[in-house]
Symmetry: C2
DNA sequence: GTGCATCATCGTGAAAAGCGATTGATTCTT
DNA sequence: AAGAATCAATCGCTTTTCACGATGATGCAC
């Protein structure tokens, strides 16, 4: 059976018009080229070159022309394949990342920027979804605030402690005892994901705040605090940056922090882009925590 | 370096989801498949499959998907190549034939018909050219009335004897002595190719006919005879069929007959189509002479 | 844990690919 | 006409590759 190697030799012979020169060009010996062409002629079922003898160049036969035409096409495709692998390994590829709001606002921008710097041609696609049950099908990586199924591997990025966000002066500076939350009018995220865990934690201790408004939007949440609707019980990172119009209070004892993970399907071999993204997310999280 | 065989194995593994089943399908052993994939993974520079272990099917990696996509394309092209060779060997191909008027009118129609019957899909192209110096570049075969250069091989098809064509009754029936041509008003083909040889033959014997009209067209030639302009000195085959309005007279002694050859470039390996055409031409010529 | 299915690895033998030298054929030069 | 030059085919040999079978390792199901 013929192989790509034979076709490359065929093309070289056709180009050079000589077995010996083709051998020279390819780093073979003349005898090797003879044998390779012989293999091709056997599988093709007839001679591919006319050999006039002496210093005259060999000439392709009609059958040889057929094989050569297809052979060159195959070789071109093989080169394309090498290119494709090359470009893939260089990371010039695509990555699909699942995320949620806090990460989109804090961690992700930096990861994306660094990833784009390292791989200018890459195609990054983000999928934001607030849910209890993450769906990783079709995603290379997913940010999520919790561990999930067995078939999913994870890397813990950071702990995001819960704080009380209020207007300056509404509360005395410093940590606030947890039982002060009982009956307190609060705004918060919907009771899904980690928010549900936190509220369960409070309820178990007999602390029942009065949730007067829930929204997924961080900005809306903080705007409500500024407007005096109530304090916000939210993860630290939900408050984007230092803001003079808001005061952040730790709680004592601490609420269970929201843990932020990076997830992927177990056993998956990462593309270079995904591997790089994981590393960048790890570093960005370390910076954010430090 | 990878080869087509490796890519076929890769595709089989991807299809079957298992090294062992792929081996079974291809007639290899499992270990052989393992090694072939290992070769591919080495040249690609990374794993092509995730092996979950146990009875779970192996899963293609992103890199593997790249290689697989290109690999399938290559395999498809390799099949195309096999088809192309197959069809070529079956004769479903192209042939370029040079010819000249007499052959176009007598020998060739039959050859073409038989060739088309045997190879319905074939592409036959004819190139008619009246010249002393045939140019075979780009032609598979050429009909010609003479041998030429050394670099050209030939097959003699038949002798075409020269005859005198006249109106019935202009000459007594039977052979005409050659010296009767001296001074005779004649119509003839232009003095090229074999016509030149014949006229040289006459001149060498002191016989100088009076050429009153020359034309390349056979029909015009015969029309002039019918019109009484003169007799025609022409090869027998130039007179297409028995024609009551014309009488054919042999000459004595005979003029050197026009020899009709089939030519091709020396050392050329014929396509199946060309080989068949040569055989058909040989047979048609034998019929015509017999 | 035990049994089953699966892939990797290793050692072995066979096949092939490649090399170097030689041969035989053909062309070019003198 | 003779010799030189060019070139592909061939032969014997070495190295590499290929494929196999056996064994081991791993994960899953019961």
């Amino acid at each position: 059976m013929y192989e790509l190697r034979h076709l490359a030799t065929l093309a070289a012979v056709a180009d050079e018009g000589s077995f010996g020169r083709a051998a020279n060009r390819l780093g073979y010996t003349q005898s090797s080229v003879s044998q390779q062409i012989a293999v091709l002629e056997k599988t093709a079922g007839g001679p591919l070159f006319d050999r006039p003898g002496g210093p005259k160049p060999v000439r392709i036969t009609p059958l040889g022309a057929v094989v050569l035409r297809h052979g060159r096409e195959l070789l071109r495709r093989a080169d394309d394949m090498r290119d494709g692998i090359e470009r893939f390994r260089a990371g010039d590829s695509r990555i699909d990342i699942g995320t949620f709001q806090t990460v989109s606002n804090t961690l992700l921008p930096r990861v994306i920027r660094d990833l784009r710097d390292a791989h200018p041609g890459c195609d990054i696609r983000l999928f934001e979804e607030e849910t209890d049950d993450p769906d990783l099908t079709g995603l290379d990586l997913m940010f999520f605030d919790g561990r999930t199924a067995d078939s999913i591997e994870d890397l813990k990025l950071l702990d995001d402690p819960y704080v009380l966000v209020a207007r300056p002066g509404d509360f005395p500076a410093g940590p606030i005892p947890l039982d002060k939350l009982d009956g307190l009018p609060l705004v918060a995220h919907p009771a899904i994901c980690h928010q549900a865990v936190v509220e369960g934690f409070l309820n178990a201790r007999g602390i029942h705040p009065q949730f007067v408004f829930r929204t997924e939007g961080n900005e809306a949440l903080l705007a409500m605090v500024r407007a005096g609707l109530g304090a916000a019980l939210a993860p630290r990172l939900a408050v984007l940056r230092d803001d003079e119009s808001l005061a952040l209070h730790e709680l004592t004892p601490e609420l269970p922090p929201r843990e932020i993970f990076l997830l992927w399907l177990a056993g998956r071999t990462h593309s270079p882009l995904a591997a790089h993204a994981i590393e960048l997310a790890r570093r960005a999280a370390a910076d954010l925590a430090g």
